[in-house]
Symmetry: C2
Subunit: 217 residues, 2 copies
Amino acid sequence: MHTLSEENYLKCIYRLQDKGQKITPTAIAESLGNNPASVVDMIRKLTDKLLIAYDKKKGVELTAQGQKDATLIVRRHRLWEVFLLEKLDYHWDEIHDIAEELEHIKDATLADRLDKFLGFPEYDPHGDPIPKANGKMPKRYSTTLADVKAGAHCRVAAVKDTTSAFLQYLIKLNINIGTKIQLIEKIPFDSSLVISIDGNEQKTVSQKFGESLLIDM
Amino acid sequence: MHTLSEENYLKCIYRLQDKGQKITPTAIAESLGNNPASVVDMIRKLTDKLLIAYDKKKGVELTAQGQKDATLIVRRHRLWEVFLLEKLDYHWDEIHDIAEELEHIKDATLADRLDKFLGFPEYDPHGDPIPKANGKMPKRYSTTLADVKAGAHCRVAAVKDTTSAFLQYLIKLNINIGTKIQLIEKIPFDSSLVISIDGNEQKTVSQKFGESLLIDM
DNA sequence: AAATAAAATTAGTCTTGACTAATTTTATTT
DNA sequence: AAATAAAATTAGTCAAGACTAATTTTATTT
């Protein structure tokens, strides 16, 4: 099995894959807040364990085994988030760090039992798809609120930014996964968005805000 | 906060307290499967942190703070055991090792939320009392099946031995916390016990077995 | 009380996973 | 293409927490 550190690197590389760019030691270092020299050490270690392949040209890539292991870590993380929110009544912005610890608990059947206990949820509280036991992923949303046309009605499907600052802002605006939003108008000057949340009075939010909300139309 | 290792030492010392004997470095080393030299190192560390006091004459003792911290670790361990057994359908003999990892998850409100979610249980699945949030302990049972007189009826309150070998034997005998047992007879030769489980046909168990079951009369 | 055994302690080593500083390699400018 | 900047790598260090081997202290026997 893997150490805590190895698992965190795997998860980090897994996340960086989504960006579609070459995964460099520097990118990993920035993402984890580590020194690039430390990353180079770990790249060697994970390469020896056949979890990643590193090529100067192509950057770091997960092997089939690495992809599988990383997917299961993400599965555990997201399942625990559901548990914390639904069963222990934590708030949106409190669960990430705890799940960050829980995801490393090692037991062959724990994730599957938790999955069953939670009723096989497809998405975590941030709207991110929970990988199935076999590694399959439910559909992931990619359209942001900033992408839709003025006048359009949509449903909040997921958050792209999971920082506490953003989540707390959402709580303040009374926006949750599933909340209905209508985009009234885009302000040409700075791409601010005038929106109506659940049919209520209009509010203006920034472009950055719009790009952080994934929506379903 | 404490490291994983520090917490494991605290818990170990807490457990050794129950034996009523002087807690020596060797005793801790044996209990944890560590080298006595390593234990001496950690004794220094925990002493510096004011969690224990070490005196050659009196051995290792928890300070008020150490006692408090250790109690909370035990609280977390036992609450997670209840969760694993009741909510995730694990068996008696599978939960200890997983709870051993879960107990170290650090979050100020996690234990209390879990406690509430589980309905404020007083005993864990092995019958051990779960410390309350304020450190108070429900009554602990001390009479073993080997202590009662022939003819007596009693109820299984807790297990004193939590090894997988013992727990699996209990499963085979269909004995659980709460099971009713009548002690039919003690065999003078080797102190074996003839018992009837839930009023069923008589079976003979060893003295060692009897000493491992805590009962309520 | 001396001899022996056991326990405790010290000193030094190892591994993991981080770090800094220095160097080499690769990319980007001018 | 040469100069410069950025990225990657190497070499060496550090702390935690384990270890072994050697030594000292304490207990137990004879």
